[in-house]
Each structure stands twice: as C-alpha cells, then as structure tokens.
C-alpha cells in the first residue's frame, strides 16, 4: 500500500514537474535518485520533519536509532507564539536488541509515556529507515496506541531512504490529509477564510505577514504549518481558499482538498514587493468583493509608500550589485523577484528542484545572459560565481562557509537563518542584511597582506 502511495505522489497531477510531453510521467525532481558520492541534500524524513514539526503543541516522536533524532532535534528555525512542545526531541532511540526483537513494543510504550507525561494535542510518529527495513507495522501500532491513550497518534511514513526532502514534504502532507484535516470543526468562520499552505514561520517571518491579512479582514483559518496549533489543521477543510506559499511540494494537499472539500487554491510568494502585492490581489480577486479589493489597494499603496522610505538608505548601495542565488524550488524565482525589487542583478540561479514552469519563469526574470545552475556541488557553484563576477551569494546555511572561505559575501536564505524576509517588513530586513553582508569592512581586512607577505619595497622604504 505504501509503495502505491509513493508512486501516486511521484505522479502528483497538480505538480508541474509532471506535465511532461514525453517520457514517463513520474515527478522528475522527486524521483531523482540520489547519486552515491555526490548527493548533497536531506532525506524524506528530513522533509517530513520540515513540514510537520512546526505544529507547536504536538509531540514529534522519531521511531528509529539515534541518528535521525539525535542529530536533528532542536535545529529547526520555526517560531512559536505559544507552546514549545514541538522543540522537545522525542525518539525511541532503538538499540540492537530492539532491532533484533522488533521495536513495536517500545514504540507503543513510548507513545503511552509521552501521552501520560505531556498530554500533547497530538503525537506524530515518524517511521525511519530501520523499522521500515525490518518491516514493523508502525501504522498498526499508532492505531492501537490512539485507542489506548485517547489522543490523535499520526503515523508519518517517510523513511529517509525512499527519497529526498520534496517527497518527504509530500508524504507529510498525505499524513495530514489522511489523519488530521477534516477531523475537527472551527469555532467560527468569517466571510474570507483562507489557509496558508507551505509557510513554516522560519525566523518568525509569518508574523510580518499575518497582520496584513488581519488588517484586510481576511481570516487565516489554518496555517499549514508555521506556528500552527494541531486543532486549526483539523478544521482546515472549512476555509474558502488555500494559498500555497513557495511550495510545489505540498500541492498534493491543495489539490486533494479541492477534490474532497471543493476548496480552490492559488499559488503565491511573500518575498518581494511585487510578489507580495500580487499575492494579496489574487486573494481579493478570488472573493470578488469590491470592498475587500479596495482595502487591498489601500494597503498596498500605504505599504509601498512606507517601504520606499525605509528602503531609501539601502537602494543606492544595492543598485546593480550582482547576485548568485542557490536555493531550491519556487524560492529560486520568488527570491529573484525580491532581489530585483531592490535593484540588484541576479546573474545566476539554481534550478535543481525547480519545475519546468519555475525554470521558464527564472529564465524570463534573469534575461538571456542569466545562468541557470542545474546541479553540482560547492566547486561548481564557486565556478559560476567566478565566471559571473558575482558580488554576493544567497544560499542555504550549508554553503555559507563554502562562500566565506572563498572570500565571497553571503546571505543565508534557508531554514536555520535568523531573519525573516517575508512581506513588506521582511523586504526591509532583507535590504539591511544584504547591505551589511556586502559592505562589511571584513572584506578589506581579508585583502590586507600579512607582514611576511608585504611587498619588499615597503620594507626597504622604512630602512632607508
């Protein structure tokens, strides 16, 4: 059954990766086999954690040996406005004995212990490679435990070896569809109720966006899953519209909610002035309400004016600076738009995880000279930076030290970063951080020769 599910996810019809004219119809980026010796990215379990761990009042129990939880708990940058239980690392920490005799009993007891000690809103159980390999029936254990403890116990079947992060995101989405969405009822639903899908509140950036919706009278019913409480996801099926943020990987959730509950979806991005405006206008357009549209236009006018003032000190410094962008999926075009809003020139961008549609959009945004980076590791990336004479690299934390060692200014865009870049406020933060990175005096210091490397003429000058 599990195999069938994965095959279905790999052919997700809403994902433009699958709109090929030829070849087999499986999702190219999800299906891409990791290359031995060359693979760089995280696994499906990593992807599932990215999607689900932001649910703040749930316990997240990793069923496997120590590496999966031990090396990852507490590393994720999602912010919470309340409960902190999601930051607690729970694992069955399987021993050799457990693996030989089966870890199902330990898992069952672990769920009971968590339920008794913490009474969480729900327990998500992540099945990792080893129990998947030895054939444990994690779904059945969760089912039995759910009846015993009287709490939602949700199996997340995304062992690392089935694929990369994108597939893991999608498998996590399936768990939400199968066990969570549609199991609760909201206290009240306003006239304009939407869900946000694929926004994880990294560095609290959701908090720069939510107030905008509030000002417009748009109710964000469920956040899937940034700063979410478990309960709000149970009643996500009562929203009028799904807004999918920078996340092709969760399109399965949006599409299936459309099928099951008749909720339409639109895709958007919160990065950059143009994209943020477009996003709000799209939502207003969906509701076909003249008052709402007027409020959106007023808000955009207001925010744009304020933004221009706030950005003024940075504009001149960023104008024309050459940027290489190395990130995944939709972000590769949405961040281009943000950088261009600031007057910067994006000279190259990665398209590793992008869909054909994303790629076309990237090429259009970059112009003919823009370089599309198809793949490769740190060395290839540095080669592109050299060739394009870039001033700055925007990428994930893992490439931070690659860039710094090569003497290239760097800005972190991925999930461990410390700053939120979403919305109008976020764009100002982005401009400020970019300016700091580019104009830090450290680059001058690095170019100073050491005393033993100085030109001999200076030495003779002082001696004569």
């Amino acid at each position: 059954m599990f195999r069938t599910q994965i095959n279905q996810l790999l052919t997700e019809p809403a994902c433009p990766h699958n709109h090929h004219q030829h070849g087999d119809q499986k999702n190219r980026s999800c299906r891409q086999q990791a290359k031995p010796g060359a693979a760089q990215g995280g696994c499906a379990f990593d992807g599932a954690s990215i999607t689900l761990v932001p649910i703040t009042d749930a316990a997240h129990l990793v069923h496997g040996p120590i590496a999966c939880a031990g090396n990852s708990w507490g590393t994720r940058g999602s912010g919470s406005s309340g409960p902190l239980l999601f930051r607690t690392g729970f694992t069955t920490d399987l021993t050799e004995q457990d693996i030989i005799f089966g870890g199902e009993k330990r898992l069952y007891r672990a769920i009971q212990e968590i339920a008794e000690r913490y009474r969480p809103a729900a327990i998500f159980v992540y099945c990792t490679c080893v129990p998947a390999l030895t054939g444990e029936d994690v779904v059945a254990v969760c089912q039995a435990a759910r009846e015993k403890v009287g709490l939602p116990v949700i199996p997340v079947m995304a062992p690392g070896f089935v694929g990369g992060k994108n597939l893991g995101n999608r498998l996590a989405g399936e768990a939400l569809l199968e066990y969570v969405i549609g199991t609760g009822e909201p206290p009240a639903v306003g006239r304009f109720a939407i869900n946000l899908i694929g926004e994880y509140n990294i560095a609290g950036e959701l908090w720069d966006v939510l107030p905008l919706f509030e000002r417009l009278g748009i109710q964000v019913l469920a956040k899937i899953t940034g700063d979410a409480r478990y309960r709000e996801i149970t009643y996500a099926h009562r929203a009028h519209l799904n807004l999918v943020i920078c996340a092709k990987a969760l399109l399965n959730v949006a599409r299936k909610m459309q099928e099951r509950y008749g909720i339409p979806y639109i895709e958007g991005s919160f990065y950059g002035l143009g994209e943020m405006n477009r996003c709000l206008r799209q939502v207003a357009q969906h509701f076909q309400d003249p008052d709402l549209s007027a409020r959106v236009e007023a808000l955009i006018a207001d925010e744009t004016q304020r933004l221009e003032q706030d950005l003024a000190p940075y504009r001149a410094k960023l104008q024309g600076k050459r940027v290489v962008l190395y990130t995944g999926g939709v972000k590769s075009w949405s961040v281009i738009a943000a950088a261009q809003d600031l007057g910067m020139r994006v000279v190259a961008s990665s398209t590793r995880k992008s869909t054909a549609e994303d790629k076309a959009r990237i090429q259009q945004l970059l112009g003919d000279e823009g370089v599309l980076i198809e793949g490769g590791g740190a060395q290839e990336l540095l080669e592109v930076i050299r060739r394009t004479r870039a001033d700055l690299l925007i990428a994930g934390g893992r490439n931070q030290y690659t860039a710094l060692k090569a003497g290239i200014p760097f800005l972190d865009i991925n999930q461990e970063r410390h700053h939120g870049y979403a919305g109008y406020r976020g764009l100002v933060t982005l401009a400020r951080e970019l300016t700091h990175a580019l104009y830090s005096p450290v680059w001058t210091h690095l170019r100073q020769p050491a005393p033993w490397e100085e030109d001999l003429r200076y030495g003779s000058d002082t001696s004569t």
Binding site: G37, G42, N71, G74, L107, Q112, L133, G377, Y401
Partner: protein
C-alpha cells in the same frame, strides 16, 4: 563510588546522545586530505553535516553512499563502489573514511569484504559504527581503532617521538595546547586524530573538498615508530591496548588534562620521556593556576553542579570540580561506561537531557551542550556550554580548558557565570 542508574523508559526525551557515525566522521576529519563517507541514506550524511557545519562554523567535507530502499535490500555494494569512483575523481582525497550506519549494519553487509575486493589507489578505512551502537564517543573510538590498525607502520623506535591518541571531547584549541606542551619538552607529537589544524577555523583562500589540515598520511605511517604513547580519554582504552599489542610499546592513559593534578601528571610524564626540565613558561602558568584556584575558591566552594556530557568529559569535569570543593548534584551520560562508577557522586544516570532537567533543581550551575540552554533558562540557572553541539556561541572550537592555563580559564569562566547570576530570595 557512584551507582550507575539506567532509567526504565521507552522514550528518550531531548537526547544527549549523538550518533556513532557522526563521531567516526569527526575522527576522520583530523586527518589531512581526508574525506569521510557515510554508508547510509543521504539523510544520515545531511544531518551529520549540518550538525558539524553549525558547530565548527566550517565547510565540512562529508559524503554519502546514498542508499535507497531498493539498494538497501539488494545490498549496497554498488553504492560503495560508485561513491568511491565519484569521490576519487572529483575530490582527490588522500584518504577516505568509510563509516557504516544503522541502515547498512541492520542489513548486515560485509563492508570489509567489499573493500578488499576493490583495488583502490588510496587507503579507504572502514569504521563499523552503527547508530544503535552507543554514542559519538563509540563511533570516534571505532574510527581511531580502524586508523591505527591500518596506517602506522612498525620500525626502529624514535626516542623523542610521541604518538598521542586524542579523545573526542578535546576541542581543536585543546589539541593545539597539548601539542605545544609536548613540543616545549623537545618532543615531537603525532596526534591521532589532530583537529587542531583541520577544524580550528583557519582562513585559507579558496574552497577545498577535503580536509586542509590534520595529521598527514606520512605522519600517520611514521607514528608506529614512537617510543612513547599518550592516550587522552578512557573511551580510547581499547585503541590503546590495540596499539600496545601491535607495536609492543607501553602507553600512558590519562582521562583528561584538565585540573592541577591531571596537568601535573602529564608534565611529570613529559619530564621523564624527554629528560628535560620544565620550561619557564609552564612553571609560571602553574603558579598562575594556583593563584586562580585561590581567587575562585570563594565562588566555587560548596556550589552544586549538574553535568550532562559524553562519558570522558563527564568523568574529567566531575573529578576536577569535586577537587575544587564543588558538589555534583547530577551527572548524566548518554551511554554506559563502567569507569563512570569512579565519579565522586552518588549516582550517574545513563539518560538524556530530561534527566538533567529532572535532577538539576537545587544546582547552582549546569554544564552541558547548547541543547541544555532551554532547561537552564527554565530553571533560571547559568549554563557553561561544553561538548557538541554548541551552535549558539562563537569561538568555542578554540577555547581550551586543558593544561595549567586552560584549567585557570575554566575556573574563571565558571566563577564569572556564577557571579553574574542574580541571587533569588
């Protein structure tokens, strides 16, 4: 004598334990031109890499054999072969450290056998480090044992050469201090592994896909001719025994080099090996340490400390701080080691950070890695960060708590933490 207690629990909460493959990779990173390769799913490598990158704030060379569901079931031999081909062509390493994982070992592959059949132009050292086989220290020991099984060559002994087996708890800055101390006696140390020149965070223009520092292969081969062997850390005892059997050279094992007594022991040892007197610099540093002990005893005496650390470090810190008149309120280790029973406290808990949280109330200060920060905050207690990971502070890779000078620094840091913590009514 302490009682070793293992709480009866099915779930680990806020684990202190780190995976053995991570430890094995760390050991290989102390060899020059090395590239550790984890034989597991791509996530095994990605998680370990992120952990090390964030802790050391360095680009960390670490590759994966990228096992998939199918290749795990059918056997990962092709993955190993392909990875090695790719890495040899792309990264030009001088050594590859192949570390197994829970996934590979659960399937039960004959990795050593696979490697024997391949004709490889460089040493590929296999460390058996399944995730279910202990913590970081265990994987680290496996890698050190694998290195000394294969690389050092026997030969006529060199009277002034010292092989140092350095434990997993020493920071790059601490390894550097130990080396400097040995050199000050006119001796030549060869450290296995030597993080002091590989993970010390040095600016070297350009990007490198293998380690740019550490002990070179030539040094590793020559290490078999050392007349003296210094082993730092009790978790390396099996490696030490292996060395003695292979080279017929006795070893001196010290749990650590933190504290007056521990530093004196090492200095005594170096005096005997070198026949030289103690350099003036270190005589002065010993006097500085005594003065630091006097200055800080007001703040440390009778204070209660709760520790959650890998076993070596737990043992060393527990002993030294007790010798300063502190009381051990709680001692938590991620794995069991019989010698932990020699700690001067009632109980040693083999557990996780939830055990620290449960037993810390009543303590004056906590010592653990940065993941204990929320606990310290909740309890309103200061935390001295130690071990791995530490990603919310800078410069800890160069911090040294070894030798006379380092011990004085530890006393100052601990006292300062206590001084700046407000007293509660």
């Amino acid at each position: 004598m302490a009682r070793i207690q293992v709480p009866e629990r099915a779930v680990a909460i806020n684990p202190l334990k780190l995976s053995p493959p991570l430890g094995a990779a760390l050991a290989f990173l102390g060899i020059k031109g090395a590239l550790p390769l984890l034989h597991g799913s791509q996530g095994c490598t990605a998680f370990a890499k992120v952990m090390l990158v964030r802790h050391f704030r360095e680009a960390i060379p670490l590759a994966t054999t990228a096992l998939t569901e199918v290749s795990t079931i059918l056997g990962g031999e092709d993955n190993i072969r392909q990875s090695l081909e790719t890495l040899l062509a792309k990264a030009q390493p001088q050594l590859i450290g192949l570390c197994s994982t829970a996934l590979a070992e659960t399937r039960g592959e004959d990795i050593a056998g696979i490697l024997r059949q391949l004709h490889l132009p460089i040493p590929v050292i296999y460390a058996c480090a399944p995730d279910f086989g202990g913590s970081l220290s265990d994987g680290y020991s496996q890698a050190v044992e694998a290195i000394i099984r294969e690389l050092p060559q026997p030969g006529p002994l060199l009277a002034d050469q010292v092989t140092v087996l350095a434990g997993p708890d020493l920071t790059p800055g601490e390894v550097a201090d130990v080396k400097a101390l040995i050199q000050a006696f006119g001796l030549t140390p060869i450290v296995i592994p030597d993080l002091s020149t590989s993970l010390d965070g040095h600016w070297a223009n350009g990007y490198h896909s293998v380690t740019t520092g550490g002990t070179s292969l030539a040094e590793l081969r020559a290490a078999g001719r050392s007349a003296h062997v210094l082993v730092i850390g009790q978790s390396l005892r099996r490696a030490a025994e292996q060395w003695r059997e292979r080279f017929q050279v006795p070893y001196t094992l010290v749990p650590g080099v933190t504290g007056l007594a521990a530093s004196d022991d090492l200095v005594r040892c170096l005096m005997a090996w070198s026949g030289q007197s103690v350099p003036a610099l270190y005589r002065q540093q010993r006097r500085q340490l005594l003065d630091a002990m006097l200055d800080t005893h007001f703040y440390l005496g009778g204070k209660r400390v709760a520790l959650a650390l890998e076993p070596n470090q737990l043992f060393v810190m527990g002993h030294f701080l007790a010798s300063m008149g502190m009381e051990i309120q709680a001692a938590v280790s991620p794995t069991r080691a019989d010698w932990l029973a020699n700690l001067p406290c009632e109980t040693v808990i083999v557990g996780d950070l939830s055990d620290l949280q449960q037993h810390a109330p009543g303590a004056d200060v906590l010592i653990s890695n940065c993941r204990a920060a929320p606990i310290a905050q909740a309890l309103g207690l200061p935390l001295l960060r130690m071990g791995l990971p530490i990603w919310d502070r800078l410069g800890y890779h160069l911090r040294s708590y070894v030798g006379y000078r380092g011990t004085a620094q530890l006393l100052f840091d601990l006292s300062n933490l206590l001084l700046e913590t407000p007293h509660h009514p």
